[in-house]
């Protein structure tokens, strides 16, 4: 039974890990856009 749970937990750990990298990239991109808009507003 422990092997079964290990496999299921590993599967979701991989998917959640990938989704968190996507989220991090999205946040970084939003920050870049916000920074760009701030600079545009200043000029």
């Amino acid at each position: 039974m422990s092997y079964l749970y290990a496999a299921y937990i590993a599967t979701w750990a991989i998917h959640v890990g990938y989704l968190s990298t996507l989220l991090r990239r999205y946040v970084r991109l939003r920050n870049e856009i916000a920074e760009f808009n701030r600079r545009e507003a200043k000029q």
Partner: protein, 239 residues
Amino acid sequence: MKRVFPILAVLTAALLSYALYEALVVAPTEQTMGDVQRIFYYHVPSAWTAFILFSINFVASVVYLIRRSNKADIVALVTAEVGVVFCTVVLVTGPIWARPVWGIWWTWDLRLTLTLVLWLIYVSYLVLRRFSSSGQTPLLAAVLAIFGALDVPLVYFSIWFFRTQHPQPVIGGGGSIDPRMLHVLLINWLAFSCFAALVCWSRYYLEVLRREVDETLALEALLEPRGSQTRTSQTWRAG
């Protein structure tokens, strides 16, 4: 996208939860392997999903080579990335199943080795796309993807044409499967396919947005007077 995506995300989460319940509770326990056989309900759908994603990557790469379409290039990138995630699941859950059933974590069996090679090819594809700044990168990546896709049928048919340690295919391969197990397997495949489609969709829009930002910043840098440029090309490529 903003309206439909949350609804689809909730539906997919519900479907994945139902598929998990079916795999752990409803599916009958296999006579010889016991509960460890239930790994099959995650391992096989993940493999099928990875194969479909790599096949889409192949088609998108061919389209890119013919038409130089930006959309096809993004689809190729996205499907390769999500395909690698699913292929990783296959390579992790397989040995976890093999340890109690075969007594070993890994063997250099034809199917296992070809699956590892497939994973390595697509990881190298992603490394190429991430670290090469040449204008030819999408073209080189498309060619690599076409060679990589040749491994997909080899992986799939390796257990049909060669004697391997890996179990025989459950559908169309001469083996038999309890209809209740097949039902649970197909529900899990549907759930993981919906999940993969959603992830690809969000990754696609993320890539479109990133390219738009890159183009805007590059244009801004061109229009700025010399000496006042503060950004480096490395900063634009972030993400």
